[in-house]
Structure formats: structure tokens, C-alpha cells
Symmetry: C2
Subunit: 499 residues, 2 copies
């Protein structure tokens, strides 16, 4: 292969890296690279296919395949019987070697990170915020008390898999094609019925929109209801992932203290009366475990009604209440359509499920369905169908009863051992509900240090301070829900030794 000047074009002589790509693609790539870097300028005549085949030691057919592809993509022009030329319609000024490494990088792709990649990319304001808010660190597998990793034994896999297998085998339009963006009607009905019966929610199926996760719900709430910089009352300490979603969307979480009655509404109204949203976890405040009192619920609703603000009620593990029936939701006593209620199946079933929902005031259903469609599309219909049947056939109720027993036993064991072995300066928070309990320390203890030491002993017990904005709460979170009873006993004793 010669340059028009008569010099041999070095490309084809260079040793090529090993590649699984077929020979014709490799020849195609080398000629293409020659065109792009200017070594084979527009108008250059290529050797005949026969000559190329001989020079390269490959078959004539392989050469033809490469030339055919180059022709299809506009790199070469072929005239039957006359030969093959580099297309002379290409803009010569744009065909040149890659810029030098200082400027742009020799090898932008391949095994090693390239100099190009080291330049910080130009992100938008939102992009910079997303980078700055950080992510939830995954707990290393095998640590005791790690949040959000249910034991496989506690999952209702028999019933689930039977239904899932049946619908997978009988795949049809309703599981393979596009459902309405708000979700499959059969699932919206099943969720509405469950919420009506078990959670005291006042809604019809039309008010329910199926999402992938509470995280997606919080993001949509922030995007649709908040402008850049709008204040949001945020429980302090509070759920980190929710704060991240709000910050990433441009909202301004204002810390509002949590006491033994839950979020301090009077404080919120004094520091941020202009807030457009309150993010709350009334059934089981995350992370303290406090239940929002009825008076506070009424105050919160009255504030929202008077100010036109919204309440996002994240009822993340309300199903797990060990004393009596689960408490009714704030949504159920809202008489002014100010509450957006968020629930999820990803925690009570399994995280990989990816089905959650929002119960919305009617005027918001249309905008939220549109936003789900525009920003994502729709939640996979097969899993919606399977979940609807799982609920309608009663498996979900059975599972709830079962895990309530399992988690109650684990909680009781934890409380019993903790009562015996924990030192007096470690005070246990409320434990009527949920899968974790907060352990509060007196002042001056460096809970991150204790958490780090515990981690080195195999215990994943996050520091309470890592959930705080201004709050000076210090302590540890113990997610007993996913640990077998024997491990709970051992882990609690280990913890006590540390304190």
C-alpha cells in the first residue's frame, strides 16, 4: 500500500494488537485509520484486491469484504474493472493525525486510561451537584447487620417464582409490550386495594402511579413540584438517599429536628415558612425509629393546607409493625390533597424487584405519568403482572405475616441481649417497627470512630451522625432485620465489647 508520493504507507506494516475481530474487519480498520489520519489522502488509488490479498497474506474474499464495507461507509469509491480510490469527496482539512498527547491524547481508548480521559468533563450545574452529593457506599458482603440485604431464606421465592415462571412461559402482549406509563391497571388496582385495607390510604387505582423505586419517586416529586433552590423541610437526622435525590434535583433541604414525636413542625415553620415540600417518614422515622405523633400529623397537614406546600410521606417499612396493626398513614387523614404517599415493594420483597409507587392527589397524576414517560418510559410490564398476581393470590399477605414474625423474633432477641450487655450510656431508640433500631450515645462520643472499629470486626453499623445535617445525635444503627438470631446474639455482644 503506497502513499501517492510513492512512500509505503506504514500502517499495514505495524504489528497489530491481538483482536477477536475477523481479518476483514482488521483490514477495514487499518485502511480507515489511514484515511482518518491523512496517511491515505482523498484520491489515493488502492492496490487491486488481488495485490492486497497477496501482500497481506489473506484471501481475496476477505479483501473484498473489507473494501465493500469501506465503500458502504463512504471511505472508498470503486469502479468496476478500474479499481478502488479513497473517496475524493472527503474534507481533506479534517483528515489528520491525532493531536499530540499533551493536547489530546495518543490512545484515547484501550487498556490504559488516556490523557484525554484525565481532563475533567464539562458538566452542567446538575451534573456537578450529582457528582458532589456522593453515592451510598455498598456495604461489603459478609458484614453483620448490613442494611438492605435480606436473607434469601426470608423471601417468598416459592410463590414468587411459580408465578414468575408461569408468566415468563406464557409471555404475551401484556407482558412484552408497552403498558400505560402509570402502570398496568391490574397492579394499580391490587396496590389500591392493599393500601385501602392495610394502610388506611384513601385512594382509587387511578391515583396510583407505578415506579421503579422510591428514589425515582423522590426525583420526580422534586422535578415536578420544586424549582431550583426551593426549600424542603428535611428530617434531621434523615434518610441520606432522599437528601441526595433532592439536592441533585436542585432543591434546598432545610434541616428540621426530630424529637420523640417526630419532625418538629413548629421549628420547620419558623426556619423555612416558604418551604414547598416536607419530606417525612411518619410511620418509622429513618433513622431514629420515632413515630410521628397525631398532633404533629395534624399540625403538618394544617401547615401544608395553609401554605400550599406538599407533604411527601415516605412509608418505607410501615408494614413491619410489631405492636398491633400498622398505623394509618398521614395520607389517610389529609383532607386537602396535600399528601403524596410513597411506598415500595423493593424493601419488603427484594431490592432487585424494582417496583414502587406513589399515591397522588388527582391533579398530579397526569403530570407524574407524563414525567415517568419522558424521563424513563415505564416499569417493566412482566414484573408488574407477576406482582399483581402475587398480591391478588394472597401470597403478599402471607409473606407480610411471616416476615413480621421473623423480624419480631430477631428484634426481641436483639433487645434481650442488648438489655443484658450494652453499657448504660448506649440508649436504645424506639423499636416497635421496622428492621433496625437506633442506639443513641451520650454526648462527646465519636460514633464514626466506633462504627469504623465495628466494621473492622465484621459489623456494619453506620454512625448516626452520618445521617445528620445539623443534629448532634450520635450513635449507631443496628439493622437486625436481615441477621439470623444466632448472629444477632454474637454481634450484639461484640458491639457491647466495643462500647
Amino acid at each position: 500500500l503506497k502513499h501517492p508520493s510513492g512512500h509505503s504507507v506504514p500502517l499495514l506494516r505495524e504489528p497489530q494488537p491481538k483482536s477477536a475481530r475477523p481479518l476483514y474487519i482488521r483490514l477495514y480498520q487499518r485502511i480507515r485509520a489511514g484515511v482518518l489520519n491523512g496517511a491515505l489522502p482523498p484520491g489515493t488509488r488502492l492496490p487491486s484486491a488481488r495485490t492486497l490479498a497477496r501482500e497481506e497474506g489473506i484471501s481475496r474474499n476477505t479483501v473484498e469484504a473489507a473494501l465493500h464495507q469501506l465503500q458502504a461507509e463512504g471511505f472508498v469509491v470503486r469502479k468496476t474493472g478500474a479499481g478502488t480510490w479513497i473517496s475524493d469527496e472527503l474534507p481533506t482539512r479534517l483528515l489528520r493525525p491525532r493531536r499530540s498527547s499533551g493536547e489530546a491524547g495518543k490512545a484515547p481508548r484501550g487498556g490504559d486510561p488516556s490523557p484525554l480521559s484525565e481532563k475533567p468533563p464539562s458538566l452542567s450545574t446538575c451534573g456537578r451537584r450529582v457528582t458532589e452529593v456522593g453515592g451510598e457506599e455498598a456495604e461489603p458482603v459478609g458484614l453483620l447487620f448490613a442494611p438492605c440485604v435480606p436473607g434469601l431464606a426470608a423471601l417468598p421465592l416459592d410463590g414468587w417464582n411459580r408465578i414468575a415462571t408461569r408468566h415468563t412461559r406464557r409471555a404475551n402482549a401484556s407482558t412484552l409490550f408497552q403498558p400505560p406509563p402509570a402502570g398496568l391497571p391490574v397492579l394499580r388496582e391490587a396496590v389500591a386495594q392493599y393500601l385501602h385495607m392495610d394502610r388506611g390510604i384513601e385512594c382509587t387505582a387511578e391515583q396510583i402511579i407505578i415506579l421503579n423505586s422510591t428514589q425515582q419517586g423522590i426525583n420526580l416529586v422534586a422535578r415536578l413540584l420544586l424549582n431550583e433552590g426551593d426549600a424542603v423541610w428535611f428530617e434531621d437526622p434523615g434518610y441520606r438517599s432522599a437528601r441526595r435525590a433532592l439536592v441533585a434535583a436542585g432543591a434546598r433541604p432545610v434541616p428540621v429536628p426530630v424529637d420523640e414525636e417526630g419532625i418538629d413542625v413548629t421549628h420547620g415553620a419558623s426556619v423555612a415558612p416558604e418551604a414547598r415540600l416536607v419530606y417525612v417518614t411518619p410511620s418509622h422515622q429513618y433513622p431514629t425509629g420515632v413515630t410521628l405523633s397525631l398532633s404533629r400529623r395534624l399540625e403538618l397537614l394544617a401547615w401544608a393546607e395553609a401554605s400550599g406546600g406538599w407533604i411527601l410521606e415516605d412509608d418505607y417499612d410501615s408494614e413491619l409493625r410489631y405492636e398491633g396493626r400498622p398505623l394509618a398513614a398521614v395520607q389517610g387523614i389529609d383532607r386537602s390533597e396535600r399528601v403524596l404517599y410513597a411506598g415500595t415493594f423493593n424493601k419488603i420483597l427484594f431490592p432487585g424487584l424494582r417496583v414502587a409507587y406513589l399515591v397522588l392527589p388527582r391533579p398530579l397524576v397526569g403530570p407524574f405519568a407524563r414525567a415517568k414517560e419522558v424521563t424513563d418510559g415505564f416499569t417493566p410490564p412482566l414484573v408488574q403482572r407477576v406482582l399483581a398476581e402475587f398480591i391478588n393470590e394472597g401470597h403478599f399477605s402471607i409473606h407480610l405475616r411471616r416476615v413480621r414474625e421473623v423480624y419480631r423474633e430477631r428484634r426481641d432477641r436483639f433487645l434481650a441481649v442488648a438489655g443484658d450487655v450494652l453499657p448504660p450510656h448506649a440508649r436504645l431508640g424506639p423499636s416497635e417497627a421496622g428492621m433496625h433500631v437506633a442506639l443513641h450515645f451520650g454526648g462527646g462520643v465519636d460514633d464514626r470512630d466506633v462504627s469504623e472499629k465495628a466494621r473492622r470486626r465484621g459489623l456494619a453499623v453506620p454512625a448516626l451522625s452520618s445521617y445528620c445535617i445539623q443534629s448532634e445525635a450520635r450513635g449507631l444503627l443496628v439493622h437486625y432485620g436481615h441477621a439470623p438470631v444466632a448472629d444477632i446474639e454474637r454481634g450484639t455482644r461484640q458491639l457491647a465489647e466495643l462500647l
Copy 2:
């Protein structure tokens, strides 16, 4: 049940709507409603459980269950042996009847839309944009040529379902729990290998981020790379859903004409040199079917390199090329890391699948994975696992070869019949690729009117003008890909009669 004044509280006397809720819940709800609307003020003593049971004609246990729940939620206080009172810690000022209907609405929930619901909600700027951009209207089932509804017969359900069933049965931590936000490594590897071999993409698995849909990808690109009001070159005519995602995210799509070589880069550079992003469909421009020429590709890359702008290459149906091998992607000849390449499995497999991906310049991988996590979470791990195996076991290649044959036959049939029967003023656009072809009309034809008439005859052929911003292109889109050959013949003849 008496008011302290001695008047009977009417709540319990009213006929109750039929409800599937248990009796105790209904009693609970009526007493709760009495407290909330002020009929039972704080401090009111309730009749004994025995009296209530007799008055209501229900069992003593039912009454006890209701009172227990009211106590747990803070509505009543019970003193053993002394009786039950409405809690006097409740804020009396907040307990009052619902506001009148003119002000707020009598019955905010239930079967009928309430007056409350008729008030337009206060949405954010983004919320208003989302409402204004509108949604893609779903084509009624049963119309011929409807886009995006593959025939079940063309789907590789045997292989897919076998793998899906196996992984469903063998559910384990990798399919039930949380994968990395960027996707399961096994799928990222499989996609990288496929793109390397079949699409001429230069990337490693680390540059791939698994998403639910191209729609989600466009949304993340807009959020992470564009600020409010940033200009984006947008093909005119172009893909409506992409435009909606960009507008909803606050970007400003600038129409750039498409001619027989694809998007007019020179025009773009003259009308919006400040653009931060170009959205392009180079393999098969949607909706015209044009292929972006090599010169234009080079110009586009040169513009992006010089201006620091980004190129979002949406390669939505590049796999379906009927003449020769699929053309290499713009990403493959990008030497400055300016291209974000978007691909999807939802079109070539089935829409309910919900797996797509972006191939990113390395510096963007971290921010995109973080944004996926913060705004959604992760794509369901089971389907990622199944798809990886579907690709690695060779089913995907076989499927591609098969559907290429199926769609080629349909295209050929459409072209043959269209050549015979369509009038000369209806010119066919390029048809080397994809599942649809554009039919261009001469000036002055009202294509929306023709489209509407066709719809009434059972043909879903969208008007080309509905994809235009400033372009005056007029015509129809015929999505032949999902129609059986016999229907194509009939439908094309019907279309010809209309024209």
C-alpha cells in the same frame, strides 16, 4: 355516641357506603372522622366497649380492636377500668369540619372527581414543561403499520424464556439484590463485546452504563451535560420522544435541517454555534431513513472537538441494515471523546424488556452511574443476567440474522407493491435499513389529513409533518417491520387509493 353537649353524634347513624373493610376498621374510621371534624372534641368520653357493641350491633371484640387502633394512633386514651376518652392532647384548633365545597371540597376522594381536584396544581417550571411537551399517543391496537409493536412471532421467545425461567428458578443474590448502579459486569462485558464486533464501537466494558431505555439515557445526558436553556442541535424532522426529553429537562432544541446526507452541520454551526450537544441518528435518521454521510460525520466530530460540544449518537435500529454489514458508528471514528453512544435492546427484542445502554467517554462514566443511582437506582438485575446469557450463548446473533431476513422480506414486499401502486407524487425515502420507510409528498399536501383518513381505514401511518419543527417535509411514515407480508400488500394498496 354522644357529644359532650348531650346531642347524639350523627356520624354513627349515617348509612355507611359498602366497603370491603372489616367492621372494626369501619368503626375506627367513623370515630376518627368524628375527632378530625370536631364532632368528638378532645376530652370527650366514649361509651363503654359493651355499650358501643350493643349500639352498633357488633361484637365486643370488634369494638376492642377499633379502640386499640385508635389508641395506638393517638386518637383516644384508655384507662383500665375507667374508660376511653378522646385524647385531650390534640390541637383543638385543627379539628374542624372540612372546608365548604367552594373553598376546598366536600368529598376529596371517592368515585367522582372532587372540586379540590379541579384546581390546577402548582407545578414547578419543569413540571409545567413536562405537561406542555405532551406524550406519545399510543396507537390503538389492531391498526396496520403501527410503530413499535413487534409481532410475537418474530420474537426469540423460546431461547429467551428458557434462560429467563432458569434464572427465575435459581434466583440468588446476583438476581435478587442490588447490582452496581452502572449495571451487572457480565452484561456490560457482553454488550462491549457485541459493540466491538458488530458495531465498530471502540470501548471497554467500563465505559458502558446499563439503563432502562434510550429515553432514560437522553434524560440523563440532558441533566448532566446541559444547563437550563442550553442549545441542542436537533434533526428536523426528528425523533419526537427525544425532543420531549430534552425540552422537559430544560434544554433548547434548535432545529437543524436534514438533507440526503443527514443533518446539515454547516447550518447547525451557523444558527447555533454555542450548542453544547447534538442529538443525531446517523445510521438511519429518524424519521427520514437517511444515512449520515462520512463527510458530515467528520464535520460533526470536528465541530464537537473544536467547540467542546457533545454528540449524542442514538443508534436505535442500526442492527437492521439490509445491504451489507451495518455501518460503523460515529463513535468508532471519534478521536476526541466527544461521542456518547446510545443503544437499546427494547426495539430489537421487545419493548417491555427495558434494557438500554450508553457508551460513554471515560470521564463521564462516574457522573452517569451516580445520576442513575440518584434518580432511579438500578436496572433490574434479573433481566440483566438473562440478557447477558442470551447474548453470550449466541441467541442474540441468531435473532438478529433472523429478524434481518424477516424485515428484509417485508421491506421488499412493501417496496414492490408500493412501486406498482403508489402515485408518482409519493416518493419513497431511503430503505436500506430499519423497520420503516418515509413516503414523501410534494408541496401543498396536508399529510395530517391523509394520516387521519388512513387511520379511519385501519392504517397507522403518522404524518411526517408531526416530526417537523421548521421543516416543511410532508409525507407519511410506514412502519412495515411489524406487519405480516399479506397485510403489507393489502395496506399498501389501501394507502395508494387514499393518495
